[in-house]
């Protein structure tokens, strides 16, 4: 079975065309016509990306290798599964200051960014949590790696350089949905990281000032 990256380009009429070959099974799921039919949000809402890619990926064990394992939650999870926790932690490890290069900076694992995101999402509307979990699975899936950067295999099992390429692919994607997905992961990662007092001094932020002891008049 031959796989190659699906390259998308926008034509003068605004239509998306795929220029690289893909398999018949993929063509049913990811055909340009199908993509055009789906709104940005319905892609996630209907589980198309997650469902179709996972369905395809499920028949190909190689694409699911890794599975977000390797990081253990510090406290009982309220929304994410252990696998989803691991996927987000792996994303945060590339989005936030990276170890071991970022000498003196805490790692997002040290700050439990994934755990904080789990707690936060658990208190939002249940659909928000469901969509974010689905997003993590799509990003993790081997077919996403194949389509976005031409490398099969899951995100968590990829090399750091390959992980960065996958993030870059979504960050600059022509597909608005993927840019939204990138922003969702990135914002949650950096928000939990830089709101931690352990990082204040590293960004030359002394923290909140002392407060006058008396109430204003």
């Amino acid at each position: 079975m031959k796989y190659a990256a699906v390259v998308e380009r926008r034509t003068g009429s605004g239509r998306i065309r795929t220029t690289a070959p893909y398999t018949p099974s993929q063509s049913r799921a990811l055909s340009p016509a199908r993509l055009r039919q789906l709104s940005r949000r319905s892609l996630l809402k209907k589980g198309f990306a997650g469902g179709a890619i996972l369905l395809l990926g499920g028949s190909l064990a190689t694409f699911l290798r890794g599975g977000g394992r390797g990081r253990n939650p510090r406290q009982p999870l309220r929304l994410l599964t252990a696998k989803e926790y691991g996927i987000f932690a792996a994303v945060a490890a590339r989005v936030c200051p990276r170890q071991p290069e970022a000498v003196g900076w805490p790692s997002p694992d040290n700050l439990d960014c994934a755990g904080k995101v789990d707690q936060l999402l658990a208190e939002l509307h249940p659909q928000v949590g469901t969509e974010f979990r689905r997003l993590l699975h799509v990003f993790e899936n081997g077919l996403n790696g194949l389509f976005s950067v031409g490398q099969p295999g899951t995100f968590t099992a990829a090399s750091p350089e390959d992980q960065d390429r996958r993030l870059e692919a979504w960050r600059h994607s022509r597909v608005a949905l993927f840019r939204s997905g990138y922003q969702a992961m990135k914002r949650l990662a950096v928000a939990t990281y830089y709101s931690s007092p352990e990082t204040y001094a590293l960004v030359s932020y002394p923290g909140p000032p002392g407060v006058p002891l008396v109430k204003a008049p």
Binding site: A191, S195, T199, P209, V211, K215
Partner: protein, 521 residues
Amino acid sequence: MKIAPAPGEIRDVRAEPNLATECDFCVVGSGAGGSMAAAVLAQAGARVVVVEEGGHYTRKDFNMQEAWAYPALYQEKGNRATEDLAITVLQGRAVGGGTTVNWTSSFRTPDRTFALWASRHGVVGLDSATLAPHFAAVEERLSIREGNPDDVNANNRKLLEGARKLGWQPELIRRSVKGCARLGYCGMGCPIDAKQSAAITYLPDALAAGAVVFTNARAKLVESDRGRATGVVCEVKDAPGAAPMAAAPAARRFVVYARRGVVLAGGAINTPALLQRSKIGSRSVVGRRTFLHPTVPLLALYDEPIEGFYGAPQSVACHHFADRGDRVGYFLETAPLHPMLSAVAFPGFGEGHQRMMARLAHAQATIALLIDGHHDDEGGRVTADIDGRIRLSYPLAPVLREAAADAIKNMARLQLAAGAREVMTLHEDAVVIRSEADLAKLDGVVFGPNRHALFSAHQMGGCRMGEDPKRAVVNSRGRHHEIQNLWVVDGSVFPTALGVNPQLSIYAHARLFAQAIAAAG
């Protein structure tokens, strides 16, 4: 079980499940509009119950930590955004509403905005003269005085200096403060009560006149019977740490029976969503024309420290570009630069993002707020699902993209004039400007969803006022066109964006509307 709360109480409904209560008027929301309406109606002798979906926090709770403040004090725990995540929406959710977290900037509604509402949106009897006594009363109550040059921190001083050098006539912002220590944390709740938020001004006025406030009660439905509003059904927010309420099959309810009427002040986005859930009015009008003042930030880096995280967040504004004729106008202000908010806005990830964060203390942020709704742009749309989720779509119209492109070029000029070493757009492909000659780089800059940072701290519209029931939700005094004892007194009534920070306009319109409600008996 019905309860009869003592007048002047603030009660957390979570402590008392399965309740109901009665009143003359039920006011939904305790921000600028709701607290004002509650005060006016209670002082007129009515029994008033205010329901507020957020919690009751006081200065002792405001610890100036972003990790606490955004989840506690903002809608969707600080995660509200357009549904494509292209625009981050900062909107308060606590006793005091948006006034608990706003940056205190206070402007009267511009004359040109009133004129536009009258000429194009069928608004009758609203102009500067009509609102003047209401503006004056609010300014007195909130201690809004002339702008104070001592309020200007380094972040705002760059805007002031740059605009002056270019002849763009900057102005000092009037602020709703008394005894301000210029800590810089208005957006996280004032820890010394210097900010004159609704929670320490009009809401206490309402309580003193006998009103009762119920917190952690989220208005889910307005009940009506034969053309009259009869009450409000609320969901009781669960205690922290519990499963989210919408996940529970039978969320606890709290019912307020209102004998004389219901006054909605949940803010733009939440008020139209409440009407939609209640099936009041047509979805062809309710939720349409939602405006955000889409806000484009531009970052400048200076050799000297700016420390944009300290000092009054906003003290200088520039309205030089507010009226651009047949093109969308915008006005310039600044935004504070605390680590979390900055990290979310800064583009990229990994090492590049870290390098930018390491320069945070030297960064200055000028923002351009696009005045939407004054031209051919129709704004956004709010839709409410029956399960409680609210969605906001907001396509950035071509006329707004043109304004955004013009704004970043002029902001770059301003920041260079103020001595910036480097100016940077917050596009994912950031454009870096180091001199006037570099400004041409901005000609091809693209504005599109999630290609750059966009914020909104001003939500307006969605229940626009006007005299034509086919085009407007309420009349020019906030009364609903179909249900005669239902009123809207928040920013959702504005037919367009204001062109200035909205808190003072919301207070003043609410005061005018509430007096009309009281007079109507």
